[in-house]
C-alpha cells in the first residue's frame, strides 16, 4: 500500500518531466527548422486544457491537450491546419507517447483567426483494454 503510493508519486513526477521534455524537444526542433529555412512557419507546442469527452485510460486529470500553434501572421486555411495535424498523427510512435503521457487531444491553431482543429488521439492508436483490477 505504502509502496504503491510512493511509486505513484514517483511516476507522477517522472511523467511531468517527460511531458515537459516532449514539448521542449518539439519547440527546439521547430525553432531550428524555422531558422534554417526548412519550415516557412514557426510552430510552437504547449499544453492546453484539452477536450474532456476525449478522455481515455491514460488521460491526466487536467491539461490533457497538446496544442501546436503556427505563427504565420495570417489566418491558416483549414487544409493547412489539417495537414499539420495529419503529419503528427501519422507518426504512431509520437501518438503512443502522447497518449501514455496523459494527453488525449491534439489541437492545431494559427496565431490569427478564431478557429483551429482538434483530434481525439485514441482514434489513431489501438489501445489495449487493461483490466483495472489487475493494475492496482
Amino acid at each position: 500500500m505504502l509502496s504503491n503510493t510512493w511509486n505513484s508519486i514517483v511516476d507522477w513526477f517522472s511523467d511531468r518531466s517527460k511531458r515537459n521534455n516532449l514539448v521542449r524537444s518539439f519547440n527546439e526542433s521547430a525553432r531550428d527548422a524555422f531558422i534554417q529555412g526548412i519550415a516557412p512557419t514557426l510552430l510552437k507546442a504547449n499544453i492546453s486544457k484539452g477536450e474532456s469527452s476525449y478522455k481515455h485510460q491514460f488521460s491526466d486529470w487536467l491539461n490533457t491537450g497538446y496544442r501546436i500553434q503556427a505563427f504565420t501572421g495570417r489566418e491558416l486555411s483549414k487544409n493547412e491546419l489539417i495537414y499539420i495535424g495529419q503529419v503528427i498523427l501519422a507518426d504512431s510512435n509520437l501518438v503512443r507517447k502522447l497518449i501514455v503521457l496523459g494527453w488525449d487531444t491534439l489541437e492545431i491553431h494559427g496565431d490569427a483567426g478564431n478557429y483551429g482543429c482538434r483530434w481525439q488521439l485514441k482514434d489513431y492508436i489501438p489501445l489495449p483494454n487493461f483490466n483495472p483490477k489487475n493494475n492496482e
Binding site: D32, A39, Y83, N93, K97, V100
Partner: protein
C-alpha cells in the same frame, strides 16, 4: 571492624558498578544487532513484495522507449506534399508498360510512396531507390 565493612562495601559497589558497565556495553551491542535484524527483515520484505510490472506499465514503458524524430515531423509538415506529388508521377507503374521488371519495381515503390506520403525522410530514401532501380532523373 568498621573499616573492613567500609572496604567491603566499597569493593561491592565497585563490583556492582563494573557489572552495570558490562551490562551497558551488552545493551549497546544488543541494539546494533536489533537494528541490523530490522534492516535485513525490511530488505527481505521488500524483495518479496517487489512491485509487479503490470500490462499497463509494460505498454507505457514500451511507448516511452521509442525515439521521436521531431525534425522529420516538422520538415514533413511543410515539404512532404511537393516531394510526394513529384514521386507519385515519376514512379507510377503505368510509365513502364513494356518493361515487366521495372513495372513491378515501380508498383512496389508506388505503394511505399503512398504509404509514407507524410514522411519526408522515407520519401527521400524512396527517391534514391527510384533513381537507382528505375533510372529516373529528378
Amino acid at each position: 571492624m568498621n573499616d573492613t565493612l567500609i572496604r567491603d562495601s566499597l569493593k561491592l559497589a565497585n563490583e556492582v558498578l563494573g557489572h552495570s558497565l558490562n551490562a551497558k556495553s551488552t545493551n549497546y551491542w544488543f541494539w546494533i544487532a536489533s537494528a541490523e535484524f530490522i534492516i535485513i527483515a525490511l530488505l527481505i520484505f521488500k524483495s518479496k513484495t517487489k512491485v509487479k510490472v503490470t500490462e499497463r506499465q509494460k505498454f507505457k514503458n514500451e511507448s516511452l522507449n521509442n525515439d521521436i524524430d521531431f525534425h522529420n515531423i516538422i520538415d514533413s509538415s511543410f515539404n512532404s506534399t511537393q516531394l510526394y506529388n513529384e514521386l507519385k508521377i515519376k514512379c507510377h507503374p503505368d510509365r513502364f508498360p513494356t518493361d515487366k521488371i521495372k513495372n513491378e519495381i515501380a508498383e512496389t515503390l508506388f505503394q511505399d510512396i503512398s504509404k509514407n506520403k507524410m514522411n519526408i525522410k522515407r520519401l527521400l530514401e524512396l527517391k534514391e531507390e527510384a533513381k537507382q532501380k528505375l533510372n529516373i532523373n529528378f
